[in-house]
């Protein structure tokens, strides 16, 4: 049986996605690829997909519909390709392989399930048009697709459509989360069927396992824990009836801290129509956000650096991967709460395709969930609380003469001491060596993951406090604080003289000034 690889024009009648135009998610992906200037597609007519095989074994193999166990995989390119180029790549011509990789936009797996065909999909991000305010997409990772002896690489995070057989929206969001770049080295990514089975292990909800109609938040937390991770839960503190919602400061700071740390974030919330009518509960996965400009600190105030974040990128199984949502606030009787509105950038292609995002409802987040390494025992909320206290004390020491900004995130120790300090002190090689050696030789042996609070002024880092992440909250202490600006020394000396808890709050000082 011959199964030829097909090269077809993007968006033409032979493009398998074009044949699915009645599906909202396929229309979104076609728009997304058109904006990436897609020109051609390479179709693998037979592809065994790990996730679909798991779904097949758990559910579809016993259906009388007689579903096959084989998928298609379609690769997209931003250049015209032909059979000759493909043959060259297969024969080992590196120029052909480089050309294909340079124009590779990613792939879509098509399941043989008519109602929900879109399986594992990884697409390249749009080019960043404002690199001074970058899109923060730390959770993305590299995926490699092997075709007839050559490989194609794409950086992104996997998305798929919920099939409602073995996975609903929460399962899919969790599945995307566990693809994070943060977990490359030690964890196997569970399939959607495994996630649903893990979530139901305790069997307390009274719901059947398959077909899956959804997971409760408690089941999601259990699935994260039973997959070998620590669930980090952040819940909105604004009570709106029976729901909780977030203030902008709390939502943006927490989301940014987790995404910057490399952890995609599951957002559980409520879909609402314009005008406030409830559509229902929903879960999505945040994979990135657009960094806001440095905050203009008010004198006498501590600001959180990411509190003005304007856009977040969501993998939404109802729409597609990396859908841009604007972070707005809605005024309710209980106060101002965050609401996420779909806000796709203007189309970069003409004529513009029919975009399913335009009519999509808003999402009001109620809880955030991230899967972190088990060793991380402190939450981003606690880091922000400490940052708030430290910044407030420093401002008070000046008699309220200055305003400061603060931010927090987790770092792997080697990434902090290596890449982060290297970037931060790139113009000060002597200070860099001094700090790195001091951290290795003079500071208490540090944990694999650090909680880092950064205090700054007008976008410039002034100091970092490095926290142990392995202890209980009351006992958590700082390993050290690094001072990047000599003007901070007097303030810190004053604080140490006044506060008996300064050692726990700051740890020993390491000067990172030239």
């Amino acid at each position: 049986m011959v199964r030829p690889l097909l090269v077809v024009p993007f968006g033409g009648p032979d493009d398998p996605l074009e044949q699915l135009k009645s599906c909202d998610q396929a229309r979104y992906i076609l728009c997304y690829l058109a904006d990436l200037n897609a020109r051609s597609a390479l179709v693998e007519p037979t592809y065994f997909d790990r996730d679909y095989l798991s779904e097949f074994a758990s559910f579809y193999c016993t259906s009388t519909a007689g579903y096959p166990n084989v998928c298609k995989r379609v690769h997209y390119f931003s250049t015209e390709i032909d059979r000759e180029l493909l043959t060259d790549a297969c024969s080992g011509v590196s120029q052909a392989q480089k050309l294909l990789n340079a124009h590779y936009l990613g792939f879509v797996v098509l399941r043989p399930i008519q109602g929900t065909p879109l399986g594992r999909t990884v697409l390249r991000w749009y080019g960043d048009k404002t690199p001074h305010l970058p899109r923060v997409d730390t959770p993305s990772r590299n995926y490699e697709a092997h075709i007839a002896g050559f490989s194609l690489q794409v950086r992104g995070l996997a998305w798929q459509q919920q099939d409602s057989g073995v996975g609903a929206c929460a399962t899919i969001a969790l599945w995307s989360m566990l693809h994070s770049s943060a977990f490359d080295d030690r964890h196997v990514i569970p399939t959607t069927a495994e996630i649903t089975q893990t979530a139901h292990r305790a069997g307390l909800t009274g719901d059947r396992l398959f077909p899956s109609e959804g997971l409760t938040f408690g089941q999601l937390v259990a699935a994260v824990r039973d997959s070998g991770f620590a669930p980090l839960v952040v819940t909105g503190k604004v009570q709106c009836g029976h729901e909780t919602s977030f203030s902008r400061e709390h939502f943006c700071s927490s989301l940014a801290a987790l995404v910057r740390s490399g952890f995609p974030v599951l957002i559980a919330g409520t879909l609402t129509e314009t005008g406030g009518a409830l559509v229902g509960g929903h879960a999505v996965c945040a994979t990135g956000f657009r960094q806001a400009g440095a905050v203009d600190e008010s004198v006498g105030q501590l600001s959180f650096e990411d509190e003005n974040t304007e856009y977040v990128y969501l993998h939404d199984d109802n729409i597609g991967p990396s859908v841009r949502f604007r972070i707005d606030v809605e005024t309710r009787s209980e106060g101002e709460v965050v609401i996420l509105r779909p806000s796709r950038p203007p189309p970069q292609h003409a004529p513009a395709r029919n975009d399913p995002v335009a009519d999509y409802p808003c999402l009001r987040p109620s809880s955030l969930l991230a899967a972190a390494h088990e060793e991380i025992r402190i939450s981003p909320d606690r880091l922000h609380e400490r940052a708030l206290h430290l910044g407030t004390m420093l401002i008070a020491m000046t008699g309220g003469q200055i305003g400061l900004s603060a931010s927090a995130r987790f770092f792997n120790l080697r990434h902090f001491v290596g890449a982060e300090l290297g970037r931060l002190l790139d113009h000060h090689p002597q200070a860099l060596a001094k700090v790195r050696l001091a951290l290795w030789e003079e500071v208490h042996p540090m944990s694999l993951h650090l909680g880092v609070i950064r205090i700054g002024y007008k976008g410039t880092p002034l100091m970092d406090v490095l926290f142990d992440t392995t202890d209980s909250e009351p006992n958590t202490r700082a390993f050290a604080h690094l001072v990047y600006e000599s003007a901070m020394e007097g303030l810190l000396d004053g604080l140490v003289a006044q506060r008996p808890d300064a050692d726990r709050l700051l740890g020993p000082r390491v000067l990172a000034t030239s």
């Binding site: 819940t235 939450s379 609380e385 206290h389």
Partner: protein, 70 residues
Amino acid sequence: MTPEPQENRGSLWTTSAGATGVVPKEQFQPNPNVTAKDVQAAVDRVKDRAATFSGRVSEHSLRASVESSR
């Protein structure tokens, strides 16, 4: 030095340390009239704001989230 417009500034996680001329050193001095009590009072004033980040998840809020994640 004229500060850069806000939209061109990087963030605390993208800017290098030691950018000259940004920090007004004369304002970054401890005020001799500020006592330990004053500092504690400032911390007390942000108590409500800090409670937002207390990290505790109430049973009620978790129950609410149960429905919203379906």
